[in-house]
Symmetry: C2
Subunit: 339 residues, 2 copies
Amino acid sequence: MRSVNLVLMGFGNVGKAFASLIAEKSALCRDRYGLDLRLKAAFRSTGGYFAAPGSDIMGIAELIASATADPPGWKTGLRLEEVLIDLEPGVLVECTPTELKTGNPGLSHITRALDRKWHIAAASKGALVLKFRELMARAKKHGVQIKYSGATAAALPTVDVGLLSLAGTEILGIEGILNGVTNLIMTRMEEGMTFLDALKETQSRGIAEPDPSLDVDGWDAACKILLISNSVAGTNFSLSDIALEGIRGVTIEDIQKAKKEGKALKHLGRLIRDGGRDKAEVKLTAIEGNHPMFHVAGTNKAITYFTDTMGAITVSGGKSDPRGTAAALLKDIINIYRS
Amino acid sequence: MRSVNLVLMGFGNVGKAFASLIAEKSALCRDRYGLDLRLKAAFRSTGGYFAAPGSDIMGIAELIASATADPPGWKTGLRLEEVLIDLEPGVLVECTPTELKTGNPGLSHITRALDRKWHIAAASKGALVLKFRELMARAKKHGVQIKYSGATAAALPTVDVGLLSLAGTEILGIEGILNGVTNLIMTRMEEGMTFLDALKETQSRGIAEPDPSLDVDGWDAACKILLISNSVAGTNFSLSDIALEGIRGVTIEDIQKAKKEGKALKHLGRLIRDGGRDKAEVKLTAIEGNHPMFHVAGTNKAITYFTDTMGAITVSGGKSDPRGTAAALLKDIINIYRS
């Protein structure tokens, strides 16, 4: 049995779902994988919960929700450094909001943790999108791993399929429906709703953010195709390399036109390898009825890898909700200690 | 750079494709994975090719095909023991025909190799289907691994997605189109061909065997659902536990009837978890138009895992040919040395 310390950064929907999930799955992690997961600290913007020496804060999400007990270890203004210095290195779980200008606060959390030889499981994208090679090199230098399933379509496996299941192949191209919000909005528009009504509905259900720009302008999908392509296909894209088309301009008529031709309009992320030149884009594309993503509707996602020796491999489905993202983070933690 | 000795058992279509593929991919394996693959011996039923000390027989498939040189190292009646004793342990690549009564010759090859601390990458199914737990325990005892992507839908990733990409989930059920031959025959029947004509065409194209029973009576799909379920879902099925329906009785009318109802008749392998009771089957099933496998036609295959935390994950596609199987064997070898 191996004891693994966890520190959680960000206690929003994903952070809370992660705290709940590891409490629920702790017996499974011990029995099946020989891992005794110990949530030692959890941070939100104003401070953090930090377990007393020898204890942990597993189940803290339920404690806070039930309000039947004072959440243990709350300290206003608690700093990450205090926690990292005090603990045997384990995995830092990065769930703060994605920010694409500086990558912070995730970038600061990740670099501090790497420098103290903590592994990283990330759901936030900013730091990795802006500093992918630097962070991977820094992790290598310290002999630790960075995993980011939670940032690359979460419950839909993308990077680990590309790296492990397709090991030994050449990646000839990638395409994917990588954002559940835009796919859901376009599914509702196919049913006759306007863009604005579909967006409002998606926001009122808590699926889209109040500021929907990351999703509907394509930034989220761009981050994902960048991270997947740089990881699996060895490219070195920056965000500015990715040709970006959002879905704000789509009309019901555009969608109906595709439908009449037996096609479906989808918001696709793509890596296109044209001889020696690699191009990445996020674009509206009408796909044929026999395309493997034709029926990928609602919040479902999908990715296709085109390879030299195995043909085309498509992965589809995967829950688009905080629990699915939490499950992707847990998977990454298990696989860090497997290898 | 790590030097890895390989011994290939079986020099039929898959064995030859494997020998060609590792010659073609040797630079990639060195550059990307730090593995210097060395094919040291290759066996067929009458004897084997065995490289002289310090050399290898990479490229032997091309040498034999071109007949421009005498294939090096041929020795009639060469025995596996002679080769294993002589070499630093690496990976035994098992590509002999699948036999489901005794599991031989594969079973004998695998046990001998395990006992000399060789890893196994298997495309043949018999030994694993008949002795799954015994062989896995034997490998564990010797500190080596058995991988069998080549025996579990080959280029379509199944077991590694289940074990790695879905780590930490509970598997609530599995279903798959796991046999490319029956899927192709039924696709041709949907186009109006009788079962016998479609079978003959598939045989004349070298896709179905002269004795098609393993495929059309469902044994091959049964082997795959058994291996996948026992690996990923922790079941302990024997072949006799699997309810088996072949496709010899399917008529064009059956297929047209499903089509008229907007459905497609598919030959599905399934793990059904009903409370505490697990059931496995291979059965003809009419699936709806929005089912993720509705469009999986021809020699394509697919698998869906139903999970507790990530929803349903479907993988589809993957080349059904000897090169695709060879690529699955190469992937397994790379991943053996990654972990």
